[in-house]
Symmetry: C2
Subunit: 278 residues, 2 copies
């Protein structure tokens, strides 16, 4: 039986630190690295990322959009990145933010979760506008596959507040309700432990606060560095459960590239900072 | 200059009726049609759909998830479906429900909108949990490309109510606010006309009602037939602007397959019913 995603993350964290290396091959980066902005360039980007992560980061997070922009050839490069990383023992969180209803979610789960999936990630992100309660295919699918799920709950961008802070029919906000549902799912799927259903929660001011410790969940915190949040912000936001945070940084680390050794050094240094603070 | 998506839809509607033929190659359907559940099967499914739509439906809506489940080979089949349909003059709404922030949305827009996109659809669906206001890359990108966008606003599944009916900081519900933002975008992008930013709104009871006529938008109404809503439900829901509805049916039509002529007859008959009612 596959070890659970929270258990695999705990091992990776003990060895390397909690850093998630964001693999975002956007056009300007490929140009700066003197790579072609096509599937061939994505393949070379992939080689650099795998060399950079080796021994420095236990988790990578490719953003699907940057591969989708090159169509099926881009997806083929993404599959190679995922398979290459997992062969090296690096965990892969695929940032796809999918979310639909019924059999459509089943199809997405078949695409991204479990050993038979063509893009078999260790965890994926999902978006809950149609209701987390409609996403059994993802939540059960992740549990059955020993994979993780990160439900976008509180994002760090200001435009996200309109929906995320709206008040639901029981008086709690949307983000509170989603976190409560995550807690219920984890209590059912992994009683007494950290469950497979995590949340995406941006580092930053927590107003109103969320009961992060209570949901028995892992937290993916994107955009540390380039998007404005510092490691200190992260430590404050997740003070209640610092060992459950997966801080993701991409641009601030890839800026050291394209030399894999330089990215590796930047990642190692950031992991050391996270180890001190979290 | 490319004609706008609402103008292209109006022409398709005048010729064939408003029906959107949903192209959902889920596993059970492929098996029932005696096709293999792989990229080869998807290719044969695509041939059948194009033959069935020819002369019977002006718009098709492939659901990306069912192609993603076969990895890059599935995406290659999806690209062939999109290109084949557009070569025949059939409009393609690609149901991908993407939605993120900043440069990630730019990458998605590059993947799906405009002549240079590897999967160049006439319109796509997007999901607004991170805020429609964070989605300039989609809204401006659709406008610039002469493409359409359908923002998931009110879904027909009961689990969607938790978020969609939550109350925002100005006292209006999430779905009201999104529709109001769509109306503002359309007033800016297409003053005095029907704009490129549409909404996904399920047919069914409208409680509380939405000001559908005021947003100058097209409405994609999924799941007519198999998911429980009837053409009469549709006519009631969209009584304020019946000519702006794009009713989508998939399973109820594909049930007539795999003979393309039988699907075509079912689509023609449903289009005639919509013409009478809308």
């Amino acid at each position: 039986m596959t070890e659970s995603f929270p258990a695999r993350f705990a091992r990776a964290r003990a060895r390397y630190g909690p850093l998630v290396l964001g693999a975002d091959p956007h056009g300007p980066l490929l140009r700066r690295w003197q790579l072609t902005d096509d599937a061939e360039g994505l393949q070379r980007f992939t080689d650099i990322i795998l060399k950079a992560a080796d021994g420095a980061a236990g988790v990578i997070k490719p953003q699907s959009a940057f591969f989708e922009r090159h169509g099926w050839q881009g997806i083929r490069a993404l599959a190679r990145l995922i398979d290459g990383a997992r062969d090296m023992g690096i965990l892969v969180i695929l940032d796809v933010k999918r979310g639909d209803v019924g059999s459509t979610n089943e199809a997405y789960a078949q695409a991204y979760l479990g050993p038979k999936a063509p893009l078999a990630a260790d965890a994926i992100t999902v978006s809950p506008y149609l209701g987390l309660a409609a996403m059994d295919a993802f939540t059960d699918g992740a549990h059955d596959a020993g994979a993780g799920l990160f439900v976008v709950t509180r994002s760090s961008n200001p435009e996200g507040r309109l929906i995320q802070s709206a008040i639901t029919n029981d008086g709690g906000s949307v983000e509170h309700r989603i976190l409560a549902e995550i807690g219920e799912l984890n209590a059912r799927l992994a009683p007494g432990g950290i469950g497979p259903i995590g949340a995406v929660v941006g580092a930053g001011e927590m107003d109103p606060p969320l009961d992060l410790a209570g949901a028995n969940a892992l937290y993916l915190a994107p955009g540390i560095g380039a998007q404005g949040a510092t490691p200190e912000d992260l430590a404050r936001t997740f003070a209640a459960c610092p060992d459950r945070v997966l801080p993701s940084a991409s641009r601030s680390l890839l800026a050291a590239g394209p030399d894999p050794a330089a990215i590796r050094d930047a990642a190692t240094s950031l992991n050391e900072e996270f180890r001190r603070l979290l």
